[in-house]
């Protein structure tokens, strides 16, 4: 079955630095890949979507890359701020499918 791996260890970085989070998956590539942010006690919030034929997508301080050869997506937050501290989830959806599979998420702490 398809698996998504995100670093289970928390990522601690200093304010102003770039945070890079990794999402690896097994087996076949999805039609698209999404990143969500989740704050404690809240539901996930959609951030970015990147399709299988796209290499990179940007939105303000956020950047996502998608490498179907490596079966990997990288999620970058530039000029990070303490308000960026949250758990970030990677999610995959397959062509024609209604099922979106989520990773367990990576917790990010940005220190002032």
């Amino acid at each position: 079955s398809q698996k998504i791996e995100q670093n289970s260890e928390a990522l601690n970085i200093q304010e102003g630095k770039t945070a890079t989070l990794t999402c690896n998956y097994t087996n076949y590539s999805p039609a698209y890949l999404q990143w969500y942010r989740q704050d404690p006690g809240r539901g996930p919030v959609f951030l970015l979507l990147i399709r299988e034929n796209e290499k990179e997508k940007r939105k303000e301080r956020l950047k996502v890359t998608f490498d179907t050869t490596l079966k990997q997506s990288l999620f970058h937050i530039t000029a990070s701020q303490p308000a960026d501290s949250a758990t970030y989830l990677c999610a995959l959806t397959y062509t024609g499918g209604f099922k979106t599979i989520f990773g367990a998420g990576t917790r990010l702490f940005v220190k002032a």
């Binding site: 998504i4 289970s8 039609a31 539901g43 099922k99 367990a104």
Partner: protein, 116 residues
């Protein structure tokens, strides 16, 4: 903004009780989903629905059922609650895009269910 509302923030139930979790969305989305979230396991799909009165099993449907009588409302039912169903339950909705399933899920705030 899309709003997905879950009826309860916290619920405490006893083993064997029948439990109803309600979810309402206000953006006329075709697709609705129920996930549960447990530490270290991420979100796991229980059931989803792509239209009124339609339902499909997700990855962990055992012990659950769902109802979708109206487009805006999707209910999750625990027929006989057990302690291993203690979890955070998240409802989500999405617009159905042509031929590609769902994109951009909108989530509710979740219901933390404790079964004692």
């Amino acid at each position: 903004d899309v709003k997905v509302t879950q009826s309860s923030r916290y619920l405490v139930k006893r083993t064997g009780e029948k439990v109803f979790l309600e979810c309402v969305q206000d953006m006329d989305h075709e697709n609705m989903f129920w996930y549960r979230q447990d530490p270290g396991l991420g979100l796991r799909l229980i059931y989803f629905s792509y239209d009124v009165k339609m339902k499909e099993k997700g990855d962990i449907p055992e012990g659950y059922s769902v109802s979708r009588e109206k487009k805006e409302r999707f209910s999750l039912i625990l027929e006989s609650a057990s302690t291993n169903q203690t979890s955070m339950y998240l409802c989500a909705s999405s617009l159905r895009t042509m031929g590609r399933g769902n994109e951009k899920l909108f989530f509710g705030s979740g219901t933390q269910l404790s079964v004692l």
